[in-house]
Subunit: 372 residues, 2 copies
Amino acid sequence: MTEANYEARRAKLLKKFRECGIDSFLISSVSNVRYLTGFTGDSSWLFLSPGLTVILSDTRYETQLSTECPHIRTEIRDAASTILDLAARIVGASGVRQTGFEAEHLSWATHRLLKESVDAASTGTLVPVSGLVERQREVKDRFELEQIRDAIHVAERGIAVVRSSLRPAQTETEIRYLLESAMRDFGAIGPAFEPIIGVGPTAALPHAHAGKRTVAEHPVLLIDWGATNIHGYRSDLTRVFLTGKPTKHIERVYQTVLAAQKAAIAAIRPGAKCADVDKIARGMIDVAGFGKFFGHGLGHGFGLDIHESLRMSPLSGQVFEPGMVVTVEPGVYLPGKFGVRIEDDILVTQDGCEILTKVPREFEEAFVGFLA
Amino acid sequence: MTEANYEARRAKLLKKFRECGIDSFLISSVSNVRYLTGFTGDSSWLFLSPGLTVILSDTRYETQLSTECPHIRTEIRDAASTILDLAARIVGASGVRQTGFEAEHLSWATHRLLKESVDAASTGTLVPVSGLVERQREVKDRFELEQIRDAIHVAERGIAVVRSSLRPAQTETEIRYLLESAMRDFGAIGPAFEPIIGVGPTAALPHAHAGKRTVAEHPVLLIDWGATNIHGYRSDLTRVFLTGKPTKHIERVYQTVLAAQKAAIAAIRPGAKCADVDKIARGMIDVAGFGKFFGHGLGHGFGLDIHESLRMSPLSGQVFEPGMVVTVEPGVYLPGKFGVRIEDDILVTQDGCEILTKVPREFEEAFVGFLA
């Protein structure tokens, strides 16, 4: 990424100002600031207008900003002032009339304080703006797709290490640390999120923390993991490994989830509605009798954040476009027994989609060798 | 912690409702929900009124809630509804008139949606409430102090491993991973935050990411680290280790920071103003000629979160009370050269304070043996 690339992203965003009724925009989301400037710190805002681009930050980040964003003007505060003071001063000095703020990222209280400061410093007004940068981020550019592919590659190398070294006495926590360490060895700056490692009943908790259960306790081992690559982009996968002889019930649940996932992926193309794709998977799981055991959405966008604004759920009003990247992750969770979730990362292409993740997912491929 | 302890925390909170002008409270901060209920998941809200305690969550957490909060009523949504629907239904059904919301934790946009839902379901109103649970959390109870001491103990054992194994060719990143791994071996569920490991010029970036500099590159090695213990409580320390022969300039900066830290700590007692304690350290660093190289606040509360509401800075209006826990962490950062920060964790006692952290901090004690 060059400064010209970041400038192009900002130029694209500026073109949306008119329809939002704004002539300037205060961007406070850490990921949105990073996306538009390349700055990797936090606690910093971006002020953007047709004539002015400024990053508002504090002394902790002064040196880092001069390295990461040498072409962007910065305003640095010390410990005796707040970012609200800085923001109001710039709004006042630049003579803008309608300054957008990120309605999902500014708390109710911060908005009130910002409004007081802006009212004191100018005659301009604050305008709530929802999801503007997020919508731009839904469609990934070439650089972002390279990074996401890299984050997937690192995650896939990591899981290969884990799979090849599974032992009956290993705990969920031991697996988690081995996986994190392996991904780092392959170039990750960290996991994309706290990896979920669940044996048997723990796998029935969609957001379980890895604990003390051992691999030998139950034939189902669920791993939901991803890597964050050097440029901050993430991957997100889930696989179930069969570490012992599965019951017919386990097989039926696995095949139900897998069939639902495949059918949903097959329906992803430009123009398809996210809610409709969700419905395909949800309907198949429902018909198989497991409807009440699948309570979360089918998938979500990801990139710099692990959960981005694209959502597949019954409530989604979104439509797929080329360049969008989304997880597809149906699951069936049987409390106290086990759970199955299968998750891949999908890129929407011009005429359909591409499955970016390549870890085998067929039932027969889920068997781990050590018990054979 | 027993359910009776959590109930006592909620009872204490309920007593503040009248002065806030509320008869019920929707608590949306993950840490505040955990503090009041023991629930360790996220995406869940707590509704609290004198007659009703309900956790609003979704199917992902159904089993976990039944284990962690068996005595608290839960309302579980599926993928076809939102937490706002749940919240509005409960506000409507319970007949409350003035429902508080957490003004710092609800985004502007979520507040607007919540207001629409509540307006449709009841004649009650939403009232912004600022920092109510946070103020209660500023003073730690016995259980919390035990956990913080434990998190400090784990962090101190971890740094002893790192210090004893320092080698000239080690990179900042290698040190980071060794430290995280050592703390886990001693019982941490993870670091309290991404550890900052900075050699020389990297130490001059207060929020640096560990990178590829090696220990041999510069005599100054700054480590800012902490552990999260099994109950979610954190610790936060910083030390500078001297891995080679320091210049007189390094010694002068180190002694300036250390003297400022000691003077500030000596001033902490019930009734002392946070801004005054900040001023003591800031003034000493200023007099020594390094004022413009210390741009952040002197310290912050911590516990379940690494940054809690108690702040020592020129802007703070807070006053110390017995049971508060706070970091004291002055620093001097010389861009392109090196930085020194020394940070300890302090408990405010009945008649003064106790330094909870015991890692040696004298200049002579900062020397690492391998070059001796």
